[in-house]
């Protein structure tokens, strides 16, 4: 089980979390509750070395993310390095604060694609969710500029109770801005989203309406706007292949240089992560204990072990299994075949049924509430 399988394919994508700093405070942020501080961030030369190693290893797409990646003073240098290596660079940005100023220099050094987040279509709502006044207008100006520069624009909206009735308006906004793609991503309950789950969980009826709106728009806008839909786990029949399967497609490098199989992997106790300052990326991909822990199917319990979907969804999400089942090696309770599934669904239904959603606990550096971690019955 610990032997390196010769068949481990090369990773396709690398999520570079350049910094955890962000002017927004979204209550569903997938960053960990313990955010890295600026003083611990990797320097420019180290990021460039990591990117060179990624290209050599076979990575094709680099997702420049955070936090807000344009908060890094060297974002243009880092992006230019991607372009020189032939790596496809994707800037995942909130579009606020200094982002607009950096956009043209980024386009000039060869940035390939921009993914802009919007919190809602209505400005007042969007700004309540993101926790920053004046953000919406900045985002719209930024998005228009992306299109003016000829760069492909994807709009990304995380969907939850506070904006689920706006899915149609968000689709209209994407068309109006000239986006080529739109991601309607129902909240995944990790990190801050797990903490805020009771405030975010939509009802099943609203989920169904939102999916219908996407399907109708897809037909209407074929050839103009591609809409990718991430459906909510708790109401699904089968889980998603988390990150395309553990250690199969993606690597995630944190601001401080730790390399994770998925962005929430640090919530799993006992996993040993390797660091880019101590190992090469190739070494980490093939040999680090964390990447091998849940790679393939050998680690699987029943019902996954004998299930014919095991190489489709790879047993779902390990972090969700830990959070909901108390065991990272359990079948993801989002799966209808999990013995815990009924309980999870009931929980979602009861949270969504509260008349007034609880207040958000906004994302803040150094502000992770002490007793707020996994408090689910196991």
């Amino acid at each position: 089980m610990n032997a390196i399988s010769p068949a481990v394919p090369a990773p396709i994508g690398l999520l570079a979390e350049l910094t955890h700093r962000c002017p927004l405070r979204c209550p569903y942020c997938s960053n960990p509750l313990e955010l890295d501080r600026r003083s611990g961030e990797l320097d420019t030369a180290t990021w460039q070395r990591v990117l060179s190693e990624a290209a050599e290893l076979g990575v094709l797409h680099i997702h420049l993310s955070g936090g807000e990646p344009t908060a890094r003073a060297d974002i243009v240098e880092i992006t230019g390095h991607c372009a020189r290596l032939g790596l496809y660079s994707n800037l995942i940005t909130s579009g606020v604060a200094g982002a607009l100023q950096k956009l043209e220099p980024l386009a000039d050094v060869g940035l390939d694609h921009v993914q802009l987040s919007v919190q809602a279509a209505d400005a007042a709502r969007a700004e309540r969710i993101g926790g920053l006044r004046g953000a919406q207008e900045q985002k719209l100006v930024f998005g228009r500029r992306v299109v003016e520069l000829g760069l492909p624009l994807t709009l990304n909206a995380v969907i939850h109770r506070g904006n689920i009735d706006e899915v149609q308006a968000i689709i209209d906004l994407a068309v109006e801005l000239g986006a080529r793609r739109l991601e309607i991503a129902h909240t995944q309950y990790y990190g801050w989203a797990y903490l805020n789950r009771a405030a975010l969980m939509p009802t099943r009826a609203d989920v169904a309406l939102s999916i219908a709106a996407v399907e109708a728009a897809r037909a209407r806008l074929a050839g103009r706007l591609v809409i990718d839909l991430v459906v909510p786990d708790y109401y699904a029949k089968y889980p998603k292949a988390c990150a395309g399967g553990w250690g199969r497609r993606l690597m995630n490098v944190t601001p401080a240089g730790k390399v994770l199989p998925c962005h929430a992997a640090e919530t799993i106790p006992g996993l040993e992560f390797w660091h880019v300052t101590e190992h090469s990326l190739g070494d980490i991909w093939h040999r680090s204990p964390a990447f091998n822990a849940y790679r393939g199917t050998d680690w699987m319990p029943e019902p996954c072990r004998s299930c014919d979907r095991r190489e489709l969804d790879w047993g779902g999400c390990r972090c969700q299994a830990l959070a909901l089942a108390g065991d990272a090696a359990a079948t993801d309770p989002a799966c209808s075949l999990s013995p815990l599934h009924a309980r999870i669904k009931d929980l979602a239904v009861s949270e969504a049924a509260t008349e007034v959603a609880p207040d958000y606990r906004y994302r803040v550096i150094g502000g992770a509430p002490a007793a707020a971690r996994q408090e689910e019955p196991a």
Binding site: L57, L60, H61, N90, D112, H113, G150, G223
Partner: protein
């Protein structure tokens, strides 16, 4: 966006590019959030997609290169290019 015809002039928009992947020893088409593995035919077609040639001209070039029937090639590549256009990785 209207359907593609032999007179359409396709091009890869900014943010979509073909490159050789030495690790997997194949050509790939890189696009926002996705990678398309390309077979030999797709590579031959996309190498001629330059924003100048019409689809008919592309078919003509391939027909003479492979000594094949132009109409047949056109009928093969139109759906392939239309599919890429519907995914918004090809424009006219």
């Amino acid at each position: 966006m209207s359907a593609l015809t032999p007179l359409s002039v396709p091009r890869l928009p900014r943010g979509v590019r073909m490159r050789f992947d030495p690790v997997r020893n194949s050509q790939v088409l890189l696009a926002p959030e996705r990678t398309f593995d390309l077979d030999e035919v797709a590579v031959a077609v996309l190498e001629l997609v330059d924003g100048q040639r019409t689809i008919g001209e592309i078919a003509g070039e391939l027909a003479s290169r492979y000594a094949a029937d132009k109409a047949e090639i056109e009928a093969d590549i139109l759906p392939m290019l239309s599919d890429l256009a519907s995914k918004r990785v090809l424009e006219t």
